[in-house]
């Protein structure tokens, strides 16, 4: 078994309104920053032991499918690295 960190990034699908990101963008603009757009995302770092990177990715993928993301509004991706 090898120790991995699977990073699951969950973000809103393109086109889904993100009021929190809009509010954050407005606050940055009030601070004088110039920006064209801002998107937010949730990142989960999952430490786990697996036989290989594919198995680690499969397990993280299932975590995203079953809990971390809501398929109605979210897309997600999984990246695996040895820890």
């Amino acid at each position: 078994m090898t120790a991995y960190t699977a990073t699951v990034t969950v973000r809103l699908k393109r086109g889904v309104l993100d009021p929190e990101a809009e509010t954050t963008q407005q606050a940055l603009e009030r601070l004088g920053f110039e920006l064209s757009d801002l998107r937010s995302a949730d990142r989960f770092e999952v430490d786990l032991d697996a036989a290989d990177a594919d198995e680690a990715a499969d397990r993280a993928d299932e975590m995203a499918e079953r809990l971390l993301a809501n398929p109605t509004i979210h897309d997600y991706d999984v990246a695996v690295a040895e820890r």
Binding site: V16, L17, D18, T72
Partner: protein, 225 residues
Amino acid sequence: MTVAVVQFGGSNCDRDAVRALDHLGVDAERVWHADGLPDDPDGIVLPGGFSYGDYLRAGAMAARDPIMAEVREAADEGVPVIGVCNGAQIGSESGLTPGAFTTNASARFQCEPVHLRVERADTPWTAAYDEGDVIEVPIAHGEGRFEISADAHADLVGDDRVLFRYCDADGHVTDAANPNGSTDNVAGVLGERETVAVLMPHPERATLPDLGRSTDGAGILEAFA
């Protein structure tokens, strides 16, 4: 035989629901989620609140609680199930009803009376009304914006499963009357069975005559009477 009001950690409208049902002469009791459902409940209420602190997404944790497998099974057998506010978020997260309830377009928590147009009067939840009736019921949520994919929305409308839409006092469904940016002003929907429904507004807060300005919500809870 009783209506089970499921109490999760962080539920806070469970007592209100029991009291409103008592007022309507419905036998109801709170059921702690870890104890599981009682045998043969007459109905199930998923009450409002902030289950599990709204961590991850509102309703996400409670939707994966083991008692929800029992709730889905009961719903499939025809037991009436209604989710209110956080209960609506739990219901959609658990797949009882389509779509998702997410952050209000205002990015604010909103607590205010709203008007709802009754879109179906031939369900247990709306038998007390006529189609097109306008009722006043309060909302109290930060994540009540109904989101759904275009395809799923077309199915929802095609199958006539929108139960309530936000409207103005005259029943007009307008952007101005949409408090949270919900797709198509949707405030409440039906599940695959008409005995399963969720809505963001709080009928139990518009049932007791001495509580406020409206008792329009009583008709929804009369489904259990």
